[in-house]
Symmetry: C3
Subunit: 252 residues, 3 copies
């Protein structure tokens, strides 16, 4: 058994909009298991907003630095599943990411200093047109992760979708179960540490952590993955400020 | 260490109505771990509709062909937990399924060409009357999965519950987080590929995949596990068409 | 590779209020994996009520007896994250628990006959002030679990938060997806087995299991982890009786 096959090798992470208790993620894990039986598969995020690759792209880019070297990520937010579009492989900083060419990997590609792109071979002819996660991306990731040969292609003249997207995006990209709203803005880029924001008619001041503001008060802070996040101490910022994924942060 | 014990052996899949973040599934995994410490345990589906073994039975039968050979499934949708009913073991096509005798395994039994049934020994006297998943089915599955002897019984004259259920069922069996409604009808049985359905007063046409219909339009398609599924492109079919698990698809 | 590192060693269990599909749990697993790559990580409970360590403390104490010897638990319900408070390690009965000093481990400490407490070293200076689960508790647990040295401290004169909390608590501590409401009362302490309760104006009688009462009737029973739980057969007790986590069971 080769070292990259063993139970102690880096995991394959799943990053999808399938929801977790539903049968889709379990089928992806079964598909990975056929090819890479001893590899651990970890749910990185499974409740991405359906049909919206762009916000997910900014979240993924912020999460990648926290993954162990050697990890693979299978990323699936794929409203165009079953249509003609490429499957991509992005490598850099010891991490490999696999997903559809719809922008989902684009921001991570911007950020990785040593990013290299390739295209997957087309899916098998019996791949299900509505579940490329199970029949195309997961098996390809398992093969690449365990060092099995894959005929990857050069991207040629066609840049990945999302290549022109900005490095940072002033929009809500994820809302968690507390109602905290992550944005596509990195906290160390262009925002003064004492800057107040105007959101939903309310003034939102910066704070270091929840315990630093009164209960019920809205604030923004640099969150645990380096993004600007809007929160209300022991309250639900998304509901109270009308924030939702894809919504521009300013104006509107 | 025997091969079937190692981290690369086929997983044990859990198929329940317990919900995933709740403490029930974690306790089942702890129980499996005591007996089969190196086996991977994978969530196949954890948000089945509570109290309804029948729709879950049709979903399970459609999922089994996608599991790796050697896998076990612990299936628990069990409104009669704690009452007198048998625990069953179904084997076929290299898969082993364990669960209560309430119909949950019945359709899989119909479909497996080499199906064999057996009954589990009664639960231990200290098994909790409200959590046979943890105290009866999970430990039994772990023992069988790792080749430890179990005194299985013949079913005798009493057929499993659900034996008379039809091979296909024109009803909603699962609704996912997108609001797509799976049915108990296999797409390759008796439905013309151009057949329109009348559901909730709306005409539902067939399509190959989401991208083939306009945004907001209802359609049916052969889903990724071979079942007829009702969906609305970038919409919520269950809410908009009034579909819920157990509801007959036609008439009513 | 030392035995405690292998894939068959006892798992690390996560017990948090992060929700499961969200990216937080995945990051904790990634952090554990860096230090303890072959250890299995199991979701014990991930939907604890946010901001309330006390109800979670009673749930954790009831779950610990069902964990395999050698297991570790990382427990995080942490409204004070980023403020000055200790990180604790509790050991007893072959189980190790790691979490913030806010009461979360207190009831387990009461119950373990051989409980010993220690304090973690302070978090690294680059630990994120809002995610000690990832940057402090998870890595510390992984190091302790795999036998790597950690400089643990004596608690000194300051007892853990929650030390004066009662052994049993007449309040709702967890509501599951069925609407069943667990309480902080152990069924074998002080409640007569035929005692009726008055809750939300309704009389709640004892029963052994769901199947023993008519559909729609409220009852209490000794649940699968030894706690008194309020349920309605095939109904939602929390909604129908107005129960929520933290609510006193009697009076009010």
């Amino acid at each position: 058994m080769k070292p990259e096959h063993d139970a102690g090798a880096a995991p394959i992470f799943l990053f999808t909009d399938f929801g977790l208790p539903a049968p889709y993620v379990g089928q992806m894990k079964a598909a990975i298991h056929r090819t890479a039986p001893a590899v651990q598969v970890v749910d990185l995020c499974q409740d991405l907003t359906p049909f919206q690759p762009r916000p997910a792209a900014y979240l993924l880019a912020a999460l990648v630095p926290y993954l162990p070297v050697g990890a693979s990520v299978v990323a699936v937010v794929d409203p165009g599943v079953g249509t003609e579009r490429r499957g991509l492989v992005l490598k850099g900083s010891g991490i490999r990411l696999i997903g559809p060419d719809n922008g989902l990997l684009a921001i991570t590609g911007h950020r990785l200093v040593d990013a290299t792109w390739a295209a997957l071979p087309d899916p098998e002819s019996d791949a299900c047109a509505t579940f490329h996660g199970r029949d195309w991306f997961a098996p390809a990731a398992a093969q690449l992760h365990t060092g099995q040969p894959q005929m990857l292609h050069d991207l040629g003249d066609i840049a990945p979708v999302g290549a022109p997207w900005p490095e940072d995006w002033a929009a809500v990209i994820y809302v968690d179960r507390y109602g905290n709203a992550m944005t596509g803005l990195r906290a160390d880029r262009g925002m003064r540490q004492d800057q107040t924001l105007k959101i939903g008619g309310r003034t939102v001041r910066p704070a270091r952590t929840f315990a630093d503001v009164p209960v019920g008060e809205a604030f923004w802070y640099a969150n645990s993955i380096g993004l600007i996040e809007i929160a209300i101490n022991q309250g639900n910022a998304a509901h109270q400020l009308g924030l939702e994924v894809g919504r521009p942060l300013f104006g509107g």
